[in-house]
């Protein structure tokens, strides 16, 4: 659990998140030396930014909407929030993790809390919690602005050629798949008001795997527009609003049997923040939010479809949170109350040639009302020691609003009810000691999560990973885990560091699909049916070693290896656990030019899970080359990023590539960002 401190960056973030409460940050839209960021800069996709986080892997079902996996746990065990707002994906096949409904240009940074030490708004975050921080230009300080918020390719001086309005243009092109990215943004800021917004367009054709073969159905197109507004009511009171519209169309999923014709999200919020002039109380923020997702699958462009089907899904969430921060003596305290109501509905209509359509409700319009109280305290102790404590308790009420879906599920669970109540909680503590040249930390926690709607009420959801139809189980018990973690870093000089960290999650009632031979599959060609069940116990362990050496002022080397393992109650491997992975890069810096050569790879996946339908993944290694050059142009700055990914055009797929779809082959990219 290495804390990446990011005070400089977050000072311009209009919501002050104490950086010491966060495990890891990836910067999306600001230039900031020494911080994690994608080599492709601002034009990189959200998925490419997420890939920079060291506890994160990404499950790929195509070239769009990758599913973040934290500590080798998929999104069931990870909380994802946008600026603290709850949002739930609308696809029964997980084609749209909520990270796919924002664009890089919307974001300031992505914050990761590993494990149970979640951010205040997160619930069910056994593996970790991601908070996508929106990019808000913020108010200018008094007196008149002289120091601008840091943006990519910040202007050499503080003034702007456009007077009070600042703008930015960005564009990118990638040869593999003819990826085109165009972005524009603008902002204005005064002491009393700020506004920033932008629009983004991203387009990709089918990409080519290593060796040059085209991967069909890997195209996508996406538009995104956003605006953030801030109004200072008094010196201590602020009102902020956000609106994001995101729409992806014609999205191919080569790993699945269907594509997506439309995935659309509206995300809005209104927040009121009060800054206290008080010895103990710091800030109090209350945010109201609403978001709506529509997701429409489409198989009409696929050849040889056995049965054409329509599979739309919708998700509505509205909620609020209220966060109070205070500090007294050695304590930094956060108290958060949150409440949200989410509705998930999905159905499926199949059209066999000539016969009557077949209809089923796959998510029975489940309404979830969830409310919780979270508390965290960072206690600074003498001798560079600190203790971080966090806890949350939440209660949720679920109701199945769709009669047809409810009666269909009752076929399998005759005793089930149409409403359920669950209570979940988490508590975690981390102790950190930072004597000179060392940083040591260890922590422990316990937390539980309620089953997801898919796990509890999903109906014949076909999983192409193992070719089984999955049926939810309303009788599932909450899953819980004990987490133990520790990290050590040795930094004998400013030029060298060596670190190791490890965590383990000891699960009770681990939720996973279990064979049900009694039932017959629905999907043509499916192997059979699985019903979600609780395993009495399971274990996931993650370890990593990393080193950094700045050999010369212009030359830095980084290296990292990681190993993870997962076991079920029979000591058999769990699926989708990363094999031994390594990455090493060399950074060369010369004047305005930065170059990075990177090697990354996985060894053969020996610990795969045939029991859960997983096949072994072969070892792979690729080499990437990235360069960045910043060109000052009068009062503006132009940043050019170019590189070659997978230089040797290797054909490979990782363990997290759904159905072993191959990764991109050689790809040359050029990205431009111009700040006005």
């Amino acid at each position: 659990m290495i804390a990446f401190i990011l005070s400089a960056l977050l000072s311009v973030d209009s919501i002050s998140t104490p950086s010491h409460l966060i495990d890891e940050v990836v910067v999306v839209s600001a230039a900031n030396e020494g911080r994690k960021r994608s080599a492709k800069g601002k034009v990189a996709s959200i998925d490419e930014h997420l890939a920079e986080l060291s506890h994160v892997n990404l499950v790929r079902r195509g070239s769009y909407a990758w599913e973040p996996v934290v500590n080798n746990m998929q999104i069931e065990r990870v909380s994802t929030t946008i600026d603290g707002m709850k949002i739930f994906y609308a696809c029964t096949d997980k084609m749209d993790p909520v990270t796919s409904y924002v664009e890089s240009s919307n974001l300031q940074s992505i914050l990761l809390n590993s494990g149970l030490n979640g951010n205040p708004q997160s619930t069910g975050n056994i593996g970790g919690s991601l908070d996508l921080k929106l990019k808000k230009v913020g108010f200018s300080p008094l007196p008149a602005p002289s120091n601008s918020p840091l943006g990519e390719g910040s202007r050499p001086d503080g003034s702007s050629p456009l007077g009070g309005i600042r703008g930015g243009l960005s564009s990118g092109y990638e040869t593999n798949g003819h990826v085109q990215v165009y972005g524009v943004d603008a902002s204005t800021s005064s002491h009393w008001f700020y506004a920033n917004g932008g629009a983004f367009y991203r387009h990709a054709d089918n990409y080519k795997e290593g060796g040059g073969r085209k991967v069909s159905f890997s195209q996508f197109r996406k538009v995104n527009a956003f605006i953030n507004l801030g109004l200072r009511l008094t010196e201590l009171d602020v009102l902020e609003g956000t609106f994001i519209y995101d729409r992806a169309t014609n999205v191919g999923y080569p790993a699945l049997n269907m594509d997506v014709s439309k995935a659309e999200a509206f995300i809005t919020s209104l927040a009121y923040r009060h800054q206290f002039d008080h010895p103990v109380l710091n800030t109090w923020e209350t945010k109201l939010y609403y978001n709506h997702i529509t997701h429409i699958m489409d198989d009409t462009t696929r050849p040889d479809v056995a049965i054409h089907m329509d599979m739309p899904g919708e998700s509505w969430t509205s909620g609020l949170y209220s966060l109070l921060t205070a500090s007294k003596g050695s304590h930094d305290v956060q108290v958060n109350y949150d409440l949200y109501y989410n509705r998930l509905f999905a159905d499926m209509t199949m059209y066999p040639g000539g016969a009557a359509p077949m209809y089923m409700v796959t998510w029975p319009d489940v309404g979830t009302l969830n409310t919780g109280v979270a508390l965290s305290d960072l206690v600074s102790l003498p001798h560079q020691q600190s203790v971080k404590l966090s806890a949350k308790i939440a209660q949720q009420w679920q109701k199945l609003n769709n009669e047809e879906g409810y009666h269909a599920l009752r076929v399998f669970f005759p005793g089930m009810k149409d409403h359920y109540v669950q209570t979940t909680g988490r508590i975690a503590a981390t102790y950190t000691w930072q004597p000179s040249h060392w940083q040591l930390s260890f922590g422990a926690g316990w937390g539980s999560r309620a089953p997801t709607v898919t796990e509890a009420y999903g109906y014949y959801l076909n999983n192409t990973f193992d070719q089984y139809d999955y049926i939810g189980n309303p009788r599932l018990k909450n899953e819980s885990a004990i987490e133990l973690n520790g990290a050590i870093t040795w930094r004998p000089s400013a030029h060298f560091s060596l670190g190791a960290d490890a965590n383990t999650f000891l699960f009770s009632n681990y939720i996973i699909g279990q064979f049900e031979n009694r039932l017959s599959a629905m999907t043509v060609d499916a192997e059979g049916v699985k019903v979600y069940g609780n395993l009495s116990h399971a274990t996931i362990v993650n370890t990593s070693l990393n080193a950094q050496w700045q050999a010369l002022p212009w030359l830095t080397w980084n290296g990292k290896v990681s190993y993870a393992a997962g076991r079920d109650d029979d000591q058999d491997p769990l699926p989708l656990i990363s094999p031994f992975a390594y990455a090493s890069n060399l950074d060369v810096k010369w004047k305005r030019l930065q170059t990075r050569v990177e090697v990354r790879g996985n060894v053969r996946q020996t610990d795969y899970a045939p029991k859960y339908g997983e096949t072994q993944t072969d070892p792979w290694a690729i080499v990437n080359l990235n360069t960045t050059y910043t060109l000052p142009l009068r009062q503006t700055a132009l940043t050019i990023r170019a590189g070659i990914e997978n230089i040797f055009d290797k054909r490979y797929s990782t363990y997290a590539d759904w159905c072993d779809i191959p990764q991109k082959g050689r790809n040359v990219y050029v990205n431009l960002a111009w700040e006005l």
Partner: protein, 315 residues
Amino acid sequence: MKTKVLMLFLAVASLGLTSCNSNDDETGIVIDGIDLSQDVDCCSAEEALQVYKFIQTVKIIPELSTTVDDKYEVWAYSKTGTLHKGYNDLYFVVTKKKTGNYVKFFDITSITPLMHMVKMDMWHSTPVGGNFEVFDTTRPAVKRGWVSLLMNTSDAGSWQFSYNIEVLGSKGGVQNKAINVDALPDGQEWLKSFKVGDDTYYLSLVNPTDWKTGNNTIQAYISKKNNPATTPYGLATETFTIEIDPRMPDMGSHTSPDNTPLVKQKDGSYQGNINLTMTGLWRIHLTVKDTKGNIVAGGDDLKDGFSSLYWDVTL
């Protein structure tokens, strides 16, 4: 239960009725066109209201409706006002012409559907339920029975119906009245037959259109062909068990769990439970067994492994 329901088509007429009807003050029930005065032969106001409500849910079959002695109107109903191949519920209601109220005591007997087979110039009947009886005591003036029609009207043949009725001593009925029998839409096969030795039996599936996704009661009758065939076929006196295996032919023969066989009930029908996981075409493969557990029909394995004896139901 003092439901106050006003169904006024003509406010003036209703006012006229209420003024000379002593019952109204008591129950507040007014039904347009019906004189609800005390009449031992007819329904009370509450019963009449229940009958009235019921007949709003069904439609008159004009061909089978008639008058008796110019005193009573006999109304025949089915769900759609028409008949179709397979099982049909039939309802009879008799009204007094004078008051419009529903008569509680009447008997429908000898209902005889006959089909004329054009090519062979032969006649045969079809499975029918026993007597027409009151099936819901809250509406004692509605009598129900059923017919299960072997074929629909076509160039091959046509149907005619006869029945006798006795209302409070007056006799009447319908004789050899031609009536159309509709075919069922594609994906619906509710009547199947099987042979044991020289005997022919018919399996009539009752009203599958009421089914919904989820758990449903499945009901059927087993009738036995008569000799001569022009006599309506009554229920088979033997006891069978009908095992069911519902499959979706369009979904790779997907099936559902926990279906229970149809077993004989006191009323002579067979009942079991069927689970349907979605809408669409369900082919319910049948295995008919006798009391000793011997297979008497179906249960054979075709190439696809399912019984060749089946009902089709499309939800």
